[in-house]
C-alpha cells in the first residue's frame, strides 16, 4: 500500500516542487521547480527515486509530516535539524520512518531552503505536466499547509545510504553578458562584477533582490516588454539588480544587464537576507 504524508506542522512557505514546467512561457506561465535543483535531485537519489520526482521545498520554516505507511525520507539543502519519532537523524541521508511515524525538520541553521524527498515521490496530481507550485501566479498544486494530505507514489529503486556531498562553491556568481548591456554605462558589467551586493529581505522564489550602489543607465524610457530567461539580472529604474529565479515573470520591461550561469543558480536559493553576493564574468 502506498503511503500518504499528513502535514501536522508547517511554518514558512512549504511547496511541492519538481523540475518545473517548460514550453508554456509564451502563455505567461513561469517554469517554477525546485530553486535549489541539485539539493532536490540529491534528496531523490537518497531515497531511490528518479531525479525528476516531486519533493517538498521548505523555506526558512519547520515541517512535521506523519507517514501513514513506512517510507524512506531524506532531507537536503539548507542545514536543519531532522528527527523521526523524536530521535535526531542525519541531514543528507536516507532515514526510515515507520508506519504512522512522524518526521520533523526544524528551521535551518544555515541556508534558506530544505528539501524533503520521500521514496516514491510526492504524487499529487500534475498540473500542465508538472507537480511544481509557481508562487507568481499559483499555477500547480496548492501551498502545503497543516492538514494537507500528500499522496506518495510507489517506491522504485533502492535507497542510497549516502551520497557524495556537494562541492562547496564559494566565489562569485558567474555571469554572461545580457541582451541590454547597451542600456547601461559602458563599464556597467565591470561595476556589477566589482561590487559587493547585499541580499534584501524582499527576495523570494521570483527573484533574488540585491542592495548596492545603483547601476547607471544611459538610456531613458521604457523597454518594450520582452521574454525573460532564468538567471536574468534585471535592473529596474532604481538601479539595484534582481536575479530572476524559477517563478520569474515570463516577460518583463526592465533591461537585463547579465545572466547568471544555470550551474550557479542553486546558490541564490540558499542566500539569506544580509548575505553578501558578488558576480564575476563566466
Amino acid at each position: 500500500m502506498t503511503a500518504t504524508l499528513v502535514v501536522e506542522e508547517a511554518g514558512g512557505l512549504v511547496t511541492v516542487q519538481d523540475r518545473g514546467r517548460v514550453g508554456l512561457a509564451h502563455l505567461g506561465v513561469p517554469r517554477a521547480g525546485a530553486l535549489d535543483g541539485p539539493a532536490a535531485e540529491l534528496a531523490n537519489r537518497l531515497v531511490g527515486n528518479d531525479e525528476t520526482a516531486a519533493v517538498l521545498e521548505v523555506t526558512m520554516g519547520d515541517l512535521a509530516v506523519r507517514a501513514t505507511e513506512a517510507v524512506w525520507l531524506a532531507v537536503t539543502g539548507a542545514r536543519c535539524p531532522v528527527s523521526v519519532e523524536g530521535r535526531a537523524c542525519a541531514h543528507g541521508e536516507a532515514v526510515w520512518v515507520p508506519r504512522d511515524g512522524t518526521a520533523r525538520i526544524g528551521p535551518p541553521e544555515s541556508g534558506v531552503r530544505a528539501y524533503l524527498g520521500v521514496s516514491g515521490g510526492i504524487a499529487v496530481e500534475p498540473v500542465l505536466g508538472s507537480r511544481a507550485t509557481d508562487t507568481l501566479a499559483w499555477v500547480g498544486p496548492p501551498r502545503v499547509v497543516v492538514g494537507t494530505e500528500l499522496p506518495v507514489g510507489a517506491a522504485g529503486g533502492a535507497p542510497a545510504a549516502h551520497d557524495a556531498p556537494r562541492p562547496p562553491r564559494p566565489g562569485p556568481l558567474r555571469v554572461d553578458p545580457g541582451p541590454r548591456v547597451d542600456w547601461f554605462a559602458g563599464d556597467a558589467l565591470e561595476q556589477l562584477c566589482a561590487t559587493a551586493y547585499t541580499v534584501t529581505p524582499a527576495s523570494n522564489r521570483i527573484g533574488l533582490r540585491l542592495d548596492g550602489p545603483p547601476l547607471e543607465r544611459v538610456r531613458d524610457g521604457e523597454l518594450a516588454s520582452e521574454g525573460m530567461v532564468l538567471g536574468a539580472v534585471q535592473v529596474p529604474p532604481d538601479g539595484t539588480p534582481v536575479v530572476f529565479l524559477a517563478d520569474h515573470p515570463t516577460t518583463g520591461g526592465y533591461p537585463v544587464l547579465a545572466v547568471v550561469r544555470a550551474d550557479d543558480l542553486w546558490r541564490c536559493a540558499q542566500l539569506r537576507p544580509g548575505d553578501e553576493v558578488r558576480f564575476a564574468r563566466g
Binding site: H26, L27, V139, G178, G227
Partner: protein
C-alpha cells in the same frame, strides 16, 4: 544572451508574432519560443548554431499564419469607460461601437498566465495607463493601455483603463489548451 538562449529583435509586434508562429510550426530546436512587443526569445536552445541556420529560412515578408477566431462577450460597464470616451472624443456608445468593430490579434502573452496582449487598436485611439494602478482588477476585466487591449484572466493589480467585463474563461489549467487566447488568436468583442 546567457547560454542556450537567443533574443531575436524584429521590427514590430506583428513581425515578432509572425516569427514565433513560424518557428513553432517549423519545430526549431528551442524549448521555449516567447514573442513579445518587438522581440522573440528562444530559450532552452540545444544548439544555438543550428537555431541560427534554421531562422535564416524565415521570410519576414511572408503572410503570417491566421489563427482561430474567438468571440468574447463583453458587458461594457468598465469604471474608465467615460474616461476612454473622452480620450476618443466620443461617448460610451461610441467606444462600444469602435471597440467591437476591431478584429484584434493576440500578439503575445505575459504578465500572468493567459494574459493576452491584443493588437489592433489604431494609434489615434491609444489611451495612457492610469497614473496610479489599481491594487485589484477583477478577473474578466477588459482594459486598454496604449494601443493594447487585454482581458484579465485572474484578479490582479493593474494600471489599464477598464471598459468592460467578460465571463469568458480565459485561463483554465485543467484544459489541454489552458489559455483561451494563445499568441496568434484573432479576437472580436461582442457587446453582451
Amino acid at each position: 544572451m546567457g547560454r542556450g538562449a537567443v533574443l531575436v529583435e524584429v521590427g514590430s509586434a506583428d513581425e515578432a508574432l509572425s516569427l514565433a508562429l513560424w518557428a513553432r510550426e517549423a519545430r526549431v530546436p528551442a524549448g521555449e519560443i516567447v514573442p513579445a512587443a518587438g522581440t522573440v526569445l528562444f530559450d532552452d536552445v540545444s544548439d544555438v548554431d543550428e537555431l541560427g541556420t534554421r531562422l535564416s529560412d524565415w521570410d519576414p515578408a511572408a503572410e503570417p499564419a491566421t489563427g482561430e477566431l474567438v468571440e468574447i462577450p463583453v458587458g461594457y460597464d468598465g469604471e474608465d469607460l467615460a474616461d476612454v470616451a473622452e480620450h476618443w472624443g466620443t461617448d460610451a456608445d461610441g467606444v462600444i461601437e469602435r471597440h467591437a468593430d476591431i478584429e484584434f490579434v493576440v500578439a503575445f502573452c505575459g504578465f500572468s498566465p493567459g494574459f493576452a496582449y491584443l493588437a489592433g487598436l489604431p494609434s489615434e485611439l491609444a489611451v495612457p495607463r492610469l497614473d496610479t494602478p489599481r491594487t485589484k482588477v477583477p478577473a474578466g476585466a477588459v482594459g486598454l493601455a496604449g494601443t493594447w487591449c487585454a482581458t484579465y484572466p485572474t484578479a490582479s493589480p493593474g494600471g489599464w483603463r477598464l471598459i468592460g467585463r467578460t465571463d469568458a474563461r480565459l485561463w483554465n489549467a485543467g484544459r489541454e489548451q489552458p489559455a483561451l487566447l494563445p499568441p496568434g488568436t484573432r479576437v472580436r468583442f461582442r457587446p453582451a
